[in-house]
Amino acid sequence: MTLEKQRRIRLCIISGFLGAGKTTFLQHLVSTSKDEVTSVIVNELSENSVDDILLYRAGSIKKIIGGCICCTKKAELVEVLLSFCNKKTRQALSPRKRVETILVETSGVSDPGSIYNTIVNNAILSKHIIIEKVTVLLDATYKHPGKELQAFIRNQIINADEVIISKADLVTKKVVFEISDFIKTINSQAKISSSVKGKTKLLYQKESRSKNIIQHLPQEEQKYISEIFSLKIPLKNNTDWDDLVIWLSALLYCHGSNLLRVKGIVSSPIGPLLLQGVGKHIQYPQKLPNRFSSKAKYLILIGLNINKDIILESAKSINQEEKFKKN
């Protein structure tokens, strides 16, 4: 065996809170990377994932959905990583086809420290995989809704090797540097960059860095995370776009502080659209290719403290066909 073949797979963990811009960052990374054998593992709290549609450029995508890879879906992550290791050691594969880099995109509420520990403590994985870095994205525009949530984001930053302040174009330079100073106070070892639409710019880097200290979340914060729910609203293929818009904009206005993330595939007069939003703000939807027009449409809401049944009941009204009947 040559030295080159013995090389371990490099793995990057990309984390950050809901809607911080993980997928955008990953999209940029995948499309600009020269390394063709980049594999992506996408983790999603909800049962449907839109990230794999956005990341069609990547070499291969593995989805782990319906739970968080740091707790409930830990076993599934180990299984996927083992299959990558297995592929790597198979002699028949040409070096070009071997996986060289794995990018793990965690769900918005996962704890990167726990994923780090899972890989390092596994006897097989630790022999084959080297964790290159833990990247955490922090939304520059984010208004922290509560102390508890801030503690949760702080925990992600503590574990990071690299913190990227995303959406830096939406705030002033002063705010970016204020956030950068705040990050330095809780993790002085991290490399800090700012990013605009996935393009990063280095702000601060310490010359030598010691190993990261991995900390776990205290019990109360774990409880808070479990209160975050993900709700899937199935939509019909001919749902009226205007009804949806009226309902969604009113919902975001009335309950926007409790809804952290909105995403989904919806139908519109010009074809299927990919809808994405963070908090009260909704991005200009992306038009999807026509092959999506026959696929199931849905809307996913991630939030806290809202009665799921009432939302589903209310959503039925936008799902009715011919609701606005002519008399």
């Binding site: 205007d242 206005y253 009335c254 009432i310 606005f324």
Partner: protein, 100 residues
């Protein structure tokens, strides 16, 4: 820029994503106006959109009228007029909407 009111056009407004031409944008806007007026009538408010100017009219039955450029600001004004935010999870919101 709208020549009648001097309001700059809002670019990339997500609500217009379902349309691809000026004609379909106008059609969608008028359909939305009709639906909104049915919904808001139940709360004692009226909504009127002439489809020409950028601003839409929202008012209550006492005669107070406000002008709003988009849906987000409409809900803000509705909260102002009603004294509480209009909750779409309320059964009254969509129940028995019949367009005449």
């Amino acid at each position: 820029m709208c020549s009648a009111c001097g309001f700059p056009e809002i670019k990339d407004y997500w609500i217009d994503a379902g349309t691809d031409s000026a004609a379909s944008r106008l059609r969608s806007r008028l359909v939305r106006a009709k639906k909104l007026s049915v919904i808001l009538k139940k709360y004692g408010l009226f909504f009127y959109d002439d489809g020409v100017t950028q601003l839409k009219q929202i008012g209550n039955l006492t005669g107070r009228v406000e002008l709003v450029p988009n849906l987000e600001q409409l809900w803000e004004v509705v909260e102002d007029l009603l004294g509480k935010p209009l909750d779409p999870l309320d059964k009254k919101f969509f129940y028995n909407n019949v367009l005449k």
